[in-house]
């Protein structure tokens, strides 16, 4: 018999709050993180606003309790803060942590520091304090650093599948538990804004200088964001030993490839359909069992069309409530899957459906539209959370009330 997989804690930091409580409040008050950039040093501070966490690295270091140790990139700091909250929320002891795995996701790792000190680092004649960031530009570094900091020694892995990365990290954690390879894995992702990503997405001409409008007919692109979130996944066996009730069960997951184009999703939503369909079949559910979909909904022309078509194709006449929370946090790339998984946890715990902000005009190609106002007192049992990315990567997670 394979093990069931439960979520027993989580932690989060985004532009709408530096912990769970602040994020929850902002979501209910429709408070967004969108605005001019002031911490990231770029010429696009004013013309490409984004969802930035208004804390300098030094403030993040203090919040994470790092005094003198060097080499912590902003990505690692954000990740560490969210992870610390997740550990606390699940009530893990030091021994528990030692016996946990860590699967983290990022697309940029420490590129922010690398772009800042590029000329110094690559000139071997130069010496200085920048030296601490010599080898932090690779994506795996943040994961090992966080693991070392908190004392995780088992099962260390970093996933990078563009914007679906942390959904895949969570899925891998669930599969490890299911196959009885490990009893507890902390899964999620961390992503700091960088000039590299701001300019990269700008060169693709998919950044909207205005506040993004997912699933709206007038949508013009995404807003970038930064943040981190981690979920503590535990096996049924472990949960049975504890007295605490788990927060939710991870019942299903699906990972597929759209195989259409390196940077564009298929207009008919093949990958989206397959990922959601797989998640349902792993859970043994039919489409009618899904109460809410937290959509990927980046507000790019291409994603929302592809995802909308995929949803319509799978759910036909019975499309559940759906919304994208990207207007709140921006698109946090590799961290989006875990941040939105946390929003799904909150939705289940409080029986709330989060609104899709900035929607006003119906997309012409599809007949469905997202939830516009916060919905309370609905019955939420099963939620799908979608995360899609470049390279055709599409993933979907299915969370259920315990």
């Amino acid at each position: 018999m394979s093990q069931r997989v439960f979520i027993t804690g989580y932690g989060i930091i985004t532009s709408i709050g530096k912990n769970t409580q602040e994020n929850f409040q902002s979501l209910t008050l429709r408070r967004c993180g969108f605005g001019e950039l002031s911490i990231l040093d770029t010429i696009h501070q004013k013309d490409l606003p984004a969802c930035e966490i208004k804390l300098h690295d030094q403030e993040l270091r203090e919040a994470a309790g790092i005094k003198t140790e060097k080499g912590y990139t902003r990505t690692a700091l954000l990740g560490l803060l969210a992870l610390q909250e997740a550990i606390h929320s699940a009530g893990l002891s030091l021994t528990d942590i030692r016996n946990s795995g860590l699967i983290s996701a990022t697309t940029t790792g420490g590129i922010r520091e690398f772009e800042k000190f590029f000329y110094q680092i690559t000139d071997l004649q130069q010496q200085g304090d920048f030296d601490q960031f010599t080898d932090t530009a690779n994506p795996g570094e943040h994961c090992e650093r966080i693991a070392d900091h908190v004392g995780i020694r088992q099962c260390i892995a970093t996933v990078s599948t563009a914007c679906s990365s942390s959904a895949n990290a969570i899925m891998q954690g669930a599969q490890l538990i299911k196959a009885k390879k490990i009893d507890r894995v902390i899964c999620g992702g961390a992503e700091a804004l960088s000039k590299f990503t701001v300019n990269g997405f700008n060169s693709l001409m998919i950044v909207d200088p205005e506040h993004c409008r997912p699933f709206d007919n007038t949508r013009k692109g995404l807003n970038l964001g930064e943040g981190a979130a981690y979920l503590v996944l535990e096996s049924e066996a472990l949960v049975n030993q504890k007295r605490r009730k788990p927060l939710a069960e991870l019942k299903g997951y699906g990972n597929a490839n759209d195989s259409f184009h390196l940077t564009a999703s298929s207009p008919e939503g093949t990958g989206a359909f397959n990922a959601m369909n797989l998640a349902l079949s792993v859970a043994g559910f039919s489409a009618a069992d899904v109460d809410y979909i937290n959509a990927h909904g980046t507000a790019t022309e291409n994603n929302d069309l592809s995802e909308g078509m995929g949803i319509q194709r799978l759910f036909r006449e019975q499309v559940p409530y759906f919304s994208s929370t990207k207007p709140y946090t921006g698109h946090t790339l590799a961290a989006a899957g875990s941040i939105e998984a946390v929003f799904c946890m909150m939705a289940l715990q409080h029986q709330i459906i989060w609104p899709n902000l900035n929607f006003s005009s119906q997309m012409q190609e599809i007949t469905i539209s997202p939830v516009r106002e916060m919905m309370q007192n609905t019955v939420l049992k099963n939620i799908l959370s979608n995360s899609f990315g470049f390279g055709g990567n599409t993933s979907s997670l299915l969370f259920s009330l315990v």
């Binding site: 770029t42 010429i43 696009h44 697309t107 590129i111 690398f114 772009e115 590029f118 000329y119 680092i121 690559t122 000139d123 071997l124 010599t134 080898d135 690779n138 994506p139 795996g140 570094e141 994961c143 090992e144 693991a147 070392d148 020694r153 088992q154 260390i156 892995a157 970093t158 996933v159 990078s160 599948t161 563009a162 895949n168 891998q172 599969q175 490890l176 196959a179 390879k181 000039k195 590299f196 300019n199 990269g200 700008n202 060169s203 693709l204 990972n255 597929a256 490839n257 759209d258 195989s259 259409f260 184009h261 390196l262 940077t263 093949t270 990315g389 470049f390 390279g391 055709g392 990567n393």
Partner: protein, 359 residues
């Protein structure tokens, strides 16, 4: 009943600093390098990739996609059921091109091609596109564990569906910018050393390598099977020799393998006297009686170099021979029948792994 599942390598494609892309050869010609950087010997890409696709691929994408295509052909599989890639640093040459262009042009007038090419999952996406594979797709970028994570993921996927064919592979490039990083971080040797003399060296640091190796792994053997993977384990930052030796003996115990059954062990020694110390300790203790081979003098060191080691192990089991260039003098090799191969790798003395292979 308690026989654990095996995973079969049913095809391989590998491009490396040696001439490894033709399977009828097994290290018969050896490429010697005078500098500390080893780069791939490449086949003609046009045999494997269409001109339309080629024009937008960087050198490393070409190498990776070609290795993957060779693997598919070797395994006689048209469309794999899933694709998992691994890389420590991704496509650093392209990342650097976008970054320097961004810095030099002060964030203005940038083209997206290098940005797209630098994405870590670009290779897995490209393979999915060229094989029209709609199945599972993942990319691990966990430094010295990236390939092991990918292989472990394949084993997980196959435990849910054992008849599937999963394409799993590595790619890491000897980027110039990585050489600068590595020199500053003291990963590479300061003095110049010919690669074939790597293990005579008594200094710290190693030599820079690169490569891409793809494996078709399935829960069932086929007519093209190379060998079986029995098990895999990672050990993160072992603190001392005792802990590491114990990890190995427990791994063998779980797999019911006696030390005497291991015909040869493949050491991932990198020629760095400090980083290799746990492996040196193994050869003097637990594996004292087991013949040893090494491979990083042929491919150089990189995050996913263990994939070159896996090709070595699989080739030894398939061809039942061990090229002299791999052998470490003692103890004697008896070449009657090779049935069990153990790979023990290390990266930066932080990421350790064991891979157990059977004929």
């Amino acid at each position: 009943m308690d026989e654990r599942q095996h995973y079969y390598i049913n095809g391989i494609g590998i491009i490396s600093p040696q001439k490894t892309f033709e399977h009828d050869q097994f290290l018969q010609e050896i490429c010697a390098y005078e500098s500390n950087v080893l780069t791939c010997i490449i086949p003609s890409f046009k045999t494997y990739i269409s001109p339309g696709q080629l024009r937008r691929l960087s050198r490393m994408h070409r190498i990776g996609l070609t290795a993957a295509t060779m693997c598919l052909r070797d395994a006689n599989v048209q469309v794999p059921d899933g694709i998992i890639t691994a890389s420590g640093y991704g496509f650093l040459e392209e990342t650097e091109k976008f970054l320097t262009e961004m810095l030099e042009r002060n964030e203005k007038q940038l083209t997206p091609t290098y940005f797209i090419q630098g994405t870590y999952n670009a290779l897995a996406g490209l393979i999915a596109l060229s094989t029209k594979c709609l199945g599972y797709n993942n990319t691990y970028v966990s430094k010295g564990f990236a390939f092991e994570n990918a292989l472990h993921d394949v084993m997980l996927q196959l435990s849910e569906n054992s008849t599937s064919n999963f394409l799993v592979g590595s790619s890491d490039e000897a980027a110039k910018v990585l050489y600068a990083i590595g020199m500053r971080a003291q990963y590479y040797k300061v003095e110049n050393i010919p690669n074939l003399k790597l293990f005579d060296s008594q200094t710290t640091g190693t030599i820079q390598g690169e490569g891409s190796a793809f494996f078709m792994v399935s829960g069932a053997p086929s007519a093209t099977t190379w060998c079986a993977i029995k098990d895999l384990q990672m050990v993160y930052t072992p603190q001392h020799e005792g802990e590491f030796n114990l990890a190995l003996t427990s791994f063998l115990e779980v797999n019911k393998i006696k030390l005497s059954e291991i015909d040869v062990w493949v050491s991932g020694a990198s020629g760095n006297i400090e980083h290799d110390h746990l492996l040196h300790h193994l050869e003097k203790t637990v594996l004292q009686q087991t013949p040893q081979i090494r491979f990083k003098h042929l491919c150089g060191e990189y995050c996913t170099a263990v994939s070159f080691g896996l090709w070595i192990g699989a080739s030894i089991l398939k061809k039942q021979s061990i090229p002299d260039i791999l052998k470490v003098s003692t103890p004697e090799f008896s070449l009657e029948k090779i049935e069990t191969v153990l790979i023990v790798n290390q990266y930066l003395n932080r990421n350790y792994s064991f891979v157990l292979l059977k004929k």
